[in-house]
């Protein structure tokens, strides 16, 4: 079976808030100096989910990314983890697309790659946290979708997906082709191995432009950014000090009550 995993390069979410800077005029996040962008964490889990299937069944896994030149790095990362092929839709202004535009381009790329049984995406991207692209791709392709998967497996010729719900999970059965969005409950992703990295370096990443895949970048965005800002939490923590633990806990309870918080 052929699996396509959509992955995105994002600014490292681990950077401390002091290093996180935005350009309010340009409504953009300023890439922090000396911090290498990374594969979005849920996308990495999606790669892991694909590789788990590959370990168990015969599968060819292709990693697909849309992004500027630098985004090649996340394909290399996925290759080093063990995927078989990589496709990079190079588009320098990818960051300016909204969820609809992004989903449109990825849908075209998936159609171009063709012959797939399963498309995997992360539950949401670690930069915009919108969680829309996977669902929109599925809808554009006209295939069923299951979101927030904690386990993806095959049963007979169908997919068996455990999908997280509010108070537990659903065991879902879906025929293929289908799209599944993956959550961190799937388990930690494997680390690239030394051999993996060497092998990955030899794989030629297919580089395509949006024209090559016949995507027409939607002129009209559905949503517009009015303002981008860093929230200020203007509070001074009231540290409650007293002679004994008894007194400080008592005082805290009283203050919470006075402020009508409890």
């Amino acid at each position: 079976m052929n699996i396509i995993v959509c992955i995105k390069q994002v600014p490292d979410p681990e950077i401390p808030p002091v290093k996180f800077q935005i350009d309010p005029e340009g409504k953009k996040v300023i890439p922090p100096d000396g911090v290498t962008p990374v594969i979005s964490v849920f996308d990495e889990r999606a790669v892991e989910a694909a590789l788990k299937l590959k370990d168990k069944y015969k599968a060819k896994v292709t990693a697909l990314t849309l992004g500027p030149d630098s985004a090649k790095a996340v394909i290399r990362h996925a290759l080093a983890m063990g995927v078989d092929a990589g496709v990079h839709i190079q588009y320098e202004a990818a960051g300016e697309l909204d969820s609809f535009g992004t989903a449109h381009v990825l849908m075209k790329a998936i159609e171009k790659i063709g012959d797939y049984s399963l498309v995997l995406c992360g539950r949401q991207a670690a930069d915009w946290d919108a969680g829309q692209v996977g669902l929109l791709i599925a809808e554009n392709l006209g295939i069923p979708v299951v979101t927030v998967a904690k386990k993806v497996d095959l049963q007979d010729d169908k997919l068996r997906v455990e999908s997280v719900i509010q108070d537990g999970y659903h065991v879902m059965e879906v025929s293929m082709p289908a799209l599944v969005t993956v959550s961190s409950e799937i388990g930690l992703s494997r680390l690239p191995t030394g051999i993996g990295i060497v092998k990955a370096a030899r794989v030629k990443i297919e580089n395509l432009s949006v024209e090559d895949i016949g995507a027409d970048i939607p002129e009209a965005r559905c949503t517009e950014l009015i303002k981008l800002y860093v929230p200020v939490r203007d509070i001074q923590c009231q540290i409650i000090e007293a002679d004994t633990v008894q007194e400080s806990a008592e005082e805290l309870a009283v203050r919470l009550r006075e402020a009508k918080i409890i």
Binding site: D127, Q132, I226, E241, V245, A249
Partner: protein, 331 residues
Amino acid sequence: MGNSVLVFAEVKDGRVKKVALEMLSEGKKMAEKLGGDLSAVLMGSGIESLAEQLGQYGADKVYVADNEVLKDYTCDAYAKVMADLIKANEPAIVLYGATILGKDLSPRVAARVETGLASDCTDIGLDDDGKFTATRPMFAGKAYVDLSFTDSKPNMASVRPNALPVSPPDESKKAEVVKVDVNISPDDIRTTVKEVMKTAGEKPDLTEAEVIVSGGRGMKGPENFKLIEDLADVLGATVGASRAAVDAGWRTVDDQVGQTGKVVSPNLYIACGISGAIQHLAGMSTSKYIVAVNKDSEAPIFQKADYGIVDDLLKVVPVLTEEIKKLKAEG
């Protein structure tokens, strides 16, 4: 295009979710400004009686799609009913709760009616020109964006639970109930729910809880979570945990708050023995009030907290539980 506001009222275990009432409260104000009416959608099986409550919270009209095929949520069926309803009624604004279900449903509907969606919003409203705007966190809360919509209609948003205040109900108000024909063939539903596994207890889900008490590595071991549970009990709170506590095997991953866990937004978040790592803060920094109990006065959690006690939580928490119990008993 119309000027009405439509709210998807999610039902869970025979009850309307609170987030729906939150959206109705805000939706009412927007509908008045737009000069349109406020409607709500109920979907499920045997749910018609819930329409009354939606009326009391401001809905002028309640669309009821009551059908056996809608008993268990499937994205295909719900998206079809919702998209058909939007196409037929052309509301100006459509709102969903940013719950697991709402986040699954709303993008699909957006694709079907070809319009934009602002997901997981912490605020919504109309600007001076009557244009719909939405505020949402990104980069796990490190930044916020205000969004507006282009000409695509309707404007849709999913709204985080506990983000908007609920206005008091008007018991005398009744909504007009409009039954919706459900035309779903088995072919429309391409995913089958084989089993429903419940792993959570009776407490409200973390993502919707109004009060959360969380424990971290400072809890020292799983047995001490009893202290957290006792405090949670007197507050009617749900228990959460840091990843360190989950990785140690003291709590299950369902309880994890943070960037790779659940994003929560309660009225009160009490962090016990949690240092306040950026990935943890990512999941809880939009809480209205934060209380931290930590023996290290330099712990970063105190920079986000409204109230703090610098001491041993094993001593503080039991006393706090007793004191709150006393206050609650006094009324």
